[in-house]
């Protein structure tokens, strides 16, 4: 295996770690660095056990580590202010504002007040207006 090929494999590893780091952008920086360091050690140990450094073998190690997003989701668990249960992303449609029962009642009450005030004003104004 030439140095050039080894460099290529190292770059593969660094790209993967970069992707994990990017996915963990909202994780505490110290924890993120610690995580990247442990993943780097894992990859080094797994590569140390390889009979031959091939691209396929290194890709298998990275595939088994898994999707950067999944690792990031696990890293976010137990972060301050983060719920322990996974938050299922809701479709945009479901998140649109809908009036609550209280808001609908307030709207109704406001409407009644406007009608009553309007009627009162009309009664007050009626004697003043010229009759036909």
């Amino acid at each position: 295996m030439t140095q050039q090929q080894l460099d290529r494999l190292d770059r593969l590893v660094e790209d993967y770690l970069g992707a994990v780091s990017y996915a963990c952008v909202d994780v505490d920086p110290q924890r993120r660095d610690e995580l990247i360091e442990e993943l780097r050690e894992h990859i080094a140990a797994a590569r140390g056990a390889l009979y031959e450094q091939t691209e396929a073998a290194v890709r298998t190690i990275l595939d088994r580590l898994g999707e950067p997003a999944a690792i990031a989701a696990e890293a976010r668990l137990g972060e301050p202010g983060e719920p322990v249960s996974p938050v299922v992303a809701q479709p945009r449609e479901a998140r649109r504002w809908r009036p609550s029962t209280l808001e609908m009642w307030l709207g109704f009450v406001l409407l009644v007040i406007v009608i009553l005030v309007g009627a009162a004003l009309m009664l007050v104004a009626a004697p003043v207006s010229p009759s036909p």
């Binding site: 442990e38 140990a45 696990e74």
Partner: protein
């Protein structure tokens, strides 16, 4: 809840809260290094998601004071970080064992999955 997603969600929910104690149990008799630990967990397909997710979990166990790390020379390659159980971790594992038996028994009884 219906379809494949619900079942994936169920597996995740069941794993959460139990996997960390499985890790503690694997460390009960001897310290292990990361690759060794994930290989053993990966042998139990029902327990694993991807190997990489184990490291944030180990970090949480370390912050809880249940697991400590030490460096040891390796026969091949660079020194390895070994994870070992602390006395607090041993207590946590013992507590989980009794909670788990009660939990498992209750669920088995109601769901009808008791071993005969």
């Amino acid at each position: 809840m219906c379809g494949m997603e619900a079942w994936t969600g169920l597996a995740t929910a069941l794993r959460r809260g139990t996997l960390e104690f499985c890790v503690l149990a694997l460390l009960e008799n001897e310290p292990r290094y990361g690759v060794e630990l994930v290989t053993q967990l990966a042998a139990q397909t029902a327990l694993t998601t991807s190997e990489g997710t184990l490291y944030p979990l180990l970090a949480r166990l370390r912050r809880a004071g249940w697991v400590a790390t030490t460096w040891q020379e390796s026969p091949a390659g660079p020194p390895r970080r070994y994870y070992e159980l602390t006395s607090l971790g041993k207590e946590a594992l013992a507590r989980f064992r009794s909670e788990w038996i009660a939990f498992r028994t209750a669920v088995d009884h109601i769901v009808g999955t008791e071993l005969t």
